[in-house]
Subunit: 450 residues, 2 copies
């Protein structure tokens, strides 16, 4: 074995590495698992230098061996479908979970942690649903739980929130964290095509899955919002706490109206610290919805399937992180970064900063959140209609910042932009407008909130 | 004392924290030091929760007490000019160096490390010049040496290279790492003003120091390039290894020519892995020079005094990090993030990944680096001059991608854009052109290399 820095300094390995090596179990051999295995081979010598010990893959578990019968071996190891036996082996130090789903990986991750194995996972749904339980198991066993790859792949936002901003106070996180929906909205913006056509193109080009529900309905982004809010605000926010709206209702007319206002529609995950008049934190909120982003904001220019996360912190100011938010290689890069961290700790001792929801702020209901709105209506084109409708807003205590009217025949399109208003007040207004005799239809309500 | 997570789990503090607290010495009380002290007060309870122990400032050292006679105390502590006594106190665990300069802070940092104190520094010049010596001292003492704030303040590029990309292979780093020069070039680009006027405006608005040499000549960026290259390529690159050109020669004509080519001139720090025909790494290079960046590249849009660092890694692909690269609060945010890391290790045990230049690639001379060039000349306006001059490039084995000619009276302005060419071949061409009978002047040579 090559002599390493750790050996030079210490004479032996202080941690759990068996025979100078760190044993790794890989669960799952899909796109990411395959790429992780490839990179482990290609970067083997470099990883040894960076860790101070060799990574040795002890086994690769898959759920269905039949699917892999054409390639039943990887790097000399026979694939197994007995994940439970693999993760409890004495010579396994770190378990890498790349399965997907929630219940089955949850069992395997908990079992691994309880057996003193550190865990690296890319599973956003698992972390967003069960972070409390998983963290507790990791803390009790004194091992690491890493999940950089669960949010925006190789964009190191988890490490940034956990370490780099550990001495600061995060005020707000707003991110484009789903590449599929960003591709669709960007295609609609650049070509004027419909949502349905853009989705078809995304599917054809491999940016959308055969069943795109989790992406287009915002569920994937909501998991990431829960993780980002939890870390940014040191408060446990779970998937169920996140208000979630997808992009399926966005029309070419909405895109066109946004352009006229020098704005771009993006699906944002927004995590916000809410304060009282004295600046004291009263709670946090996390939400996912289509959002009008002013074109001068850096998020507006994030095109194609790229991801970007914009963070505002008290001392650091505005930071943005941009890159590939999905795909086998970028996700594998994040998994390997975590694996190097977990393996270093096995070799040298020490633990990564764990989940630490000490602040325990209340999660504020979306109805209490204030933002601005673009409301697009079709109304009767009669004298006084604008004044009547403006009264509806004033009666609910919401002031307007702009009204734009376009006539066509005997009807008119009215776009109303509000100042800051509470979500629940706005919903009352929208209900009132929908019943108004002069309102033929409320076509869309889109928040302006980058 | 508040009960902390660490106490809950462990019953006591495993590390060197004295009495459950982590003792900190602050060296320097300029803009950053003042801000660090302010944030340590404001975030005190939060930092305790994140670290698992309280931060207690044991003393603040300044070089000249007379300068602080109006405010000789900070948080109940009398300022001292005896830094050596402060850093060797038994109850100091972490030393934060915010002095500036090289020789004096070098002595203090070495003395701190040898005495078993972890060190957090924001001193790019010190790290770029003496990283080897400092790392060795930290390794021998088994303590941490952190310097996130030395590059681009709160943009966490050091942590990203050291941890997040630890399982990947960095191919190239190109960054806008100096806010002063970016402000000046942006002002020249948006208003057409001269370098001198833009510098005067930057000075008036506080973006440039009274003596702007270190910024405008590229020295500050060169220190950062050395640090980025060292970490990115696991190879020791020092300040003296970095080819460095500043922005003082950039003219409004250069800016105008860039606009015509849909490019923007930026001062870039470029760190590059050089490979042979088989893709094997033959060496690395780091350089700072004005660079034409295509407008579609994300770095082109980085305006005002913002910094941004663009990283290309084999698996992660393209990543960009954007934010405030200077200023008291953003720099203090990075210092505090490092301080939390160093303090956590003091409380819980463990060490951050240290400098690890195991790869030890040769630093390739700038003359061997290939890039593309825009050459702007004033030439005699006679038939055949373009063919003659093109021959000069061909004779040196350099092919051209574009030639643009603008006539004015009996002279013509010629802008030649080359394909990839070696720096030393290009220098031969420029020397030949300068002596050519038909060339009245070579006005500028700017590299195209984002």
């Amino acid at each position: 074995m090559t002599t390493t820095h750790a050996e030079n300094r210490n004479g032996n390995y202080p941690g759990k590495g068996v025979g100078g090596a760190v044993g790794v179990a890989i669960l799952g051999k899909g796109t990411v698992g395959t790429e992780v295995l490839r990179l482990l081979g290609e970067f083997s010598d470099n990883l040894e230098q960076r860790i101070g010990g060799r990574i040795e893959v002890r086994g690769v578990a898959v759920s269905n061996l039949d699917k892999h019968k054409d390639a039943p071996e990887v790097q000399g190891l026979t694939l197994t479908d007995d994940a439970r036996s693999l993760i409890t082996r004495d010579d396994v130090d770190v378990v890498v979970e790349l399965i997907g789903g929630i219940d089955y990986p949850r069992e395997l991750v908990l079992e691994s942690l309880k057996n003193g194995k550190s865990v690296v996972t890319a599973n956003k749904a698992l972390v967003a649903a069960h972070a409390d339980e998983l963290s507790q198991a990791a803390n009790e066993a004194g091992v690491d739980l890493y999940y950089e790859a669960a949010v925006a792949a190789a964009i190191p936002v988890v490490g940034m929130l956990r370490r780099s901003l550990a001495g600061d106070q995060v005020q707000r996180i707003s991110g484009i964290v789903n590449g599929t929906t960003n591709y669709i909205l960007d295609a609609m913006t650049t070509t004027g095509m419909s949502y349905e056509d853009a989705l078809a193109e995304a599917t054809r080009l491999g940016y959308a899955e055969a069943d795109p529900t989790a992406d287009v309905e915002g569920h994937d982004a909501a998991s990431k919002a829960a993780i980002l809010a939890s870390m940014g605000f040191h408060t446990r926010v779970t998937y169920g706490d996140v208000h979630c709206e997808g992009i399926t209702q966005i029309t070419p007319a909405d895109i066109e109206a946004a352009k006229k206002s020098d704005e771009t529609i993006k699906l944002l995950a927004i995590c916000e610290r809410l304060t009282d008049d004295n600046g004291a934190t009263v709670g946090v909120n996390a939400r996912v919805h289509p959002t009008l982003v002013p074109n001068e904001h850096p998020l507006a220019a994030v095109d194609k399937s790229y991801n970007a996360i914009f963070v505002e912190a008290e001392a650091a100011g505005r930071l943005m992180f941009y890159g590939n938010g999905a795909g086998g290689a970028p996700t594998a890069s994040a998994v390997l970064g975590d694996l190097v961290g977990a393996a270093r700790n096995k070799v040298h001792g020490g633990r990564a900063p764990a989940d630490n929801p000490y602040a325990d702020y209340p999660v504020v209901d979306f109805g209490e959140v204030s933002t601005r709105y673009h409301i697009n209506m079709t109304v009767n084109d009669r004298v006084g209609v604008l004044a009547d409708l403006a009264r509806t807003f004033a009666d609910a205590g919401v002031s307007l910042s702009a009204v734009r009217q376009e006539e066509s025949g005997d009807e008119a399109h009215l776009i109303v932009v509000t100042h800051q208003a509470r979500e629940k007040d706005l919903q009352v207004i929208v209900d009132t407008l929908a019943k108004h005799d002069d309102v033929r239809s409320v076509n869309s309500v889109i928040r302006l909130d980058a």
